[in-house]
Amino acid sequence: MSMEPKSGQQPPDPVQAARMSTLPAPFPRQSAAPAIKTRRFALWRLRTRVAKILLFVVSLYLFILAITLMKEGARGLAPLLRNLLAVGSTASALGFGWLFAYAIMSGSPVAAAALTFFDAGIVDKLGAFAMITGSRLGASFIVLLIGFLYVLRGRDRATSLSMGLLALSVTASTYLPGLLFGAGILHTGVLDGVQMQSGALLRSFIDGMVDPVAGIVVSLVPNWAVFAVGLGVIWFSFSLFDKCLPQMTLKESQLGWMSRLVYRPWVMFTLGALITLMSMSVSLSLSILVPLSNRGFVRRENVIPYIMGANITTFVDTLLAAVLLNNPPAFTIVLVEMFSITVVSIVILLTLYKRYQHWMLGFVRWITASNRNLAIFMAAIFFVPIVLVFVR
């Protein structure tokens, strides 16, 4: 239906290309009788679906294995983190989570690590909470980094950086108030009673299928390296999970109109939350917006509430990690994080959304207005977490 010109087509998306490379080859276009074509198409679709289901199962298994390894390995890291890096205070935990996410270019493994550190007694409740918050601030940097590389190659600043800057700004402006609000909730213990148990089935699965493999790894590598192996496995599990998502289906659905129509803020908020519930990654949810328009555009009005919604359900995997750790206070920490961000987001959407929208877009415009402003901003997002790490 769209008559968008071919001259406006965007360059190939590397994320999509990687995703497609692990799936069965595209359906071959050969001349054949219609009935044979239909049967072949049905078989191809079945193979694709089975491949995706298998990928999902494998990624889930690897996720559970990774949490088990990280739990075991966290105890070995305790002396290093306590003495060398001195991750003791809330501020230092926030900075550590932030920098850690920069280092591994992902937030979810850092959030899972925060829970394993809490389980091992390296950080307290508030420290784990702050580290998870820091992981989200660091995770928003990934989209920004890619944009920055394009700017260095001569591309327009605003075009390359706007989405990354907006994601980071919205995240910071909701998570930091959420940190204060959530700290209060943790202190009062209001949500301590809300728990989810892992269940006998999951427990027996872990005992039978995961613990033996984890035991082999623990016996083969030094204590401190077990955690690193677990981190690598969880990172790999997320990349496998990315490949399971029905991206092209989304394009042909009504989501494909997101570049052309202006939706109500609560609609985009809900959509961002639902899509990230499936993808479990904010950067992936944002990258899904790309193929929804032949020109790679989205409406400004749609983006901010979408990011706000995505920032809430991105914790679903961390919630699962807390269940797997069988540590009720860890579950509470993640629940409080989700709850506090939800409350802050809803308050913004209901009371001062228009002003908030102007502030965020105005801030992005200021940063991209000149190289000097951009340099100040980039320096700040590195300088601040480094300073926080050294706060006692």
Binding site: M1, S2, M3, E4, P5, S7, G8, Q10, P11, D13, V143, I146, G147, L149, Y150, R155, D156, A158, T159, S160, L161, S162, M163, G164, Q254, G256, W257, S259, R260, L261, V262, Y263, R264, P265, V267, L286, S287, L289, V290, L292, S293, R295, G296, F297, V298, R299, R300, E301, V303, Q357, H358, L361
Partner: protein
């Protein structure tokens, strides 16, 4: 064209009557003046007297009608029953409603359920010389997925374009029409070629983008003897850019399309028409 002018005690009643009378005189019709008074009918005479003064200054006459009750309900009801093609009303709060402190302004509420184009008047009365037509492309297949909005018997003309043409024909003198499309898009990721996000109207028309084709079609349809028509593009939030363009261009009238569509569309899509009516400080015609 059947025109209904509603007065109810708003500070913009005089401007509404003046503007409605201008259009009626050009269309060579006598408008209907509807005075919506308080339930006890006390203010009806004063409303009509003020309105007649404004009509006299425009050298126009009108048949009058008095109703009591809610301004929005009575106006919409009369508009539907009488088959009016244009309703003119001054912006303000409904003085007869106990909930007026918490309700949206009359113009915003009427626009949501209107059976015909609504001209919401605010600001001092002034002749219409400079018109700002804001086309989102909602009826154009190049931009909107809702192709069923277009009536194939009327070619590619959207309701907004058709009414704008009719209005411009009525006012044909020395009018200037600016056709504005606001691109509020931004790049969804790095690496996207964003030159269209900075292009002006002429560049978009030359590149034959959907927005350029829309503007070109609008300009072709609205270019009439004595009327100058210019395409314009702004980049930013839709409501902000329309408000800014109306102010910067000192336009006398802003024309926009209504928030329409089947149930789910109205629920999911943002009601930009209401936001624009609320924030623009001059007359807004919602088609």
């Amino acid at each position: 064209m059947r025109i209904l002018i509603a007065v109810y005690g708003s500070i913009h009643d005089k401007a509404a009557v003046s503007l409605g009378a201008q259009i009626a005189r050009r269309a060579r019709v006598a408008p209907t003046l509807l005075a919506v008074a308080s339930p006890n009918g006390k203010k009806a005479d004063s409303l009509l007297a003020c309105a007649r003064e404004s009509l006299a200054s425009e050298r126009a006459d009108a048949e009058t009608r008095v109703e009591t009750g809610s301004v929005v309900d009575r106006t919409l009801s009369i508009a539907r029953q009488g088959g009016y093609e244009l309703v003119v009303v001054g912006e303000g709060t409904d003085p007869h409603s106990v909930l007026r402190r918490w309700q949206e302004p009359v113009g915003v509420r009427i626009v949501k359920d209107a059976p015909c184009p609504i001209l919401v008047v605010k600001g001092p009365p002034r002749p219409i010389r400079r018109i700002l037509l804001c086309d989102s492309g909602a009826g154009s297949p190049a931009i909107s997925p809702f192709a069923d909005e277009i009536d194939p018997t009327r070619g590619a003309a959207t309701p907004l374009r058709r009414f704008a043409t009719r209005l411009v024909e009525l006012l044909a003198g020395d009018e200037e029409v600016t056709v504005l499309h606001v691109m509020s898009q931004m790049s969804a990721r790095p690496g996207v070629r964003g030159n269209q996000l900075r292009a002006d109207a002429q560049e978009l028309i030359q590149e034959r983008t959907p927005e350029g084709e829309l503007l070109e079609a609008d300009v072709q349809m609205l270019t009439l003897p004595g009327v100058q028509c210019y395409p314009a593009v702004r980049h930013g939030l839709v409501v902000d850019e329309i408000v800014a363009q109306a102010r910067d261009g000192d336009h006398d009238l802003v024309m926009i399309g209504a928030h329409r569509g089947p149930g789910w569309q109205r629920l999911l899509l943002d009601d930009l028409a209401s936001h624009i009516v609320r924030h623009v400080d001059r007359p807004v015609l919602v088609v």
